[in-house]
Amino acid sequence: MSGDEPITREHLLAIYRQARAEFPKECCGYLLGRAPDAELVPCENRQDKLHALDPEAHPRTGENGYNIGGKQLLTLVRSFESERPASIIYHSHPKVGAYFSAEDTRAAIAAGYPVDYLVVDVQEDAIVEAKLFRQDGEGYVEIARFDGAAV
């Protein structure tokens, strides 16, 4: 890969495998640092736990939402004060395509992290593609697309 690629093929395939393993739930995680020297940090999706605690406050389940908490969240937040800040936060979209949803936009703007967001299109039997989004004003625009893979 060239030095300008935002994510290595190795990390992309690892994310695809995670998306397949956690299907039909959304998977999530982030990259600490920048490619090619980044570290992949797969995270637990806590959305089902939140939904079980309070379905009114958290109507989404793990099938249409993700939530990163615990020490993985602390590592992410602290990375922005370090010399190796996170560069990409990723999650999968089971069955619905690799687009940046209104909920994704709302949450990303609320979080305010200086990262790009990778969304993986995972279907019953395939990873179709992944798309990388970057903030542009009050919205997010696609800045890169990656082919799916048989994983």
Partner: protein
């Protein structure tokens, strides 16, 4: 003194710079901060005084265990991080 730090996404809603507090538990530490910054309380705690589900508090790098009563102990020199979980659809 322990230090209470609120992360960037909270600071965008309400001013909450790091604050040094003399406290023995998370509940005491947050009560001191909220006494001078009452607006912040509603972002962090629910009506019962429990930590909101989407909020996380870490003491010296470990998530607190008592989210209802915030009785986790802190030591002089402890660092409390208060932050929102990251979510999306």
């Amino acid at each position: 003194m322990a230090t209470v730090v609120f992360t960037q996404n909270l600071r965008r809603h309400v001013a909450c710079p790091p604050e040094a507090v003399d406290a023995a538990t998370v509940a005491q530490a947050l009560a001191i901060v909220f006494a001078s910054n009452p607006r912040l309380r509603g972002y962090v705690l629910d009506d019962q005084g429990a930590l909101r589900h989407h909020m996380m508090v870490f003491v010296d790098g470990e998530p607190i265990t008592d989210r209802r009563h915030l009785s986790d102990p802190i030591a002089p020199g402890s660092e409390l991080y208060v932050m929102q979980a990251l979510s999306g659809g």
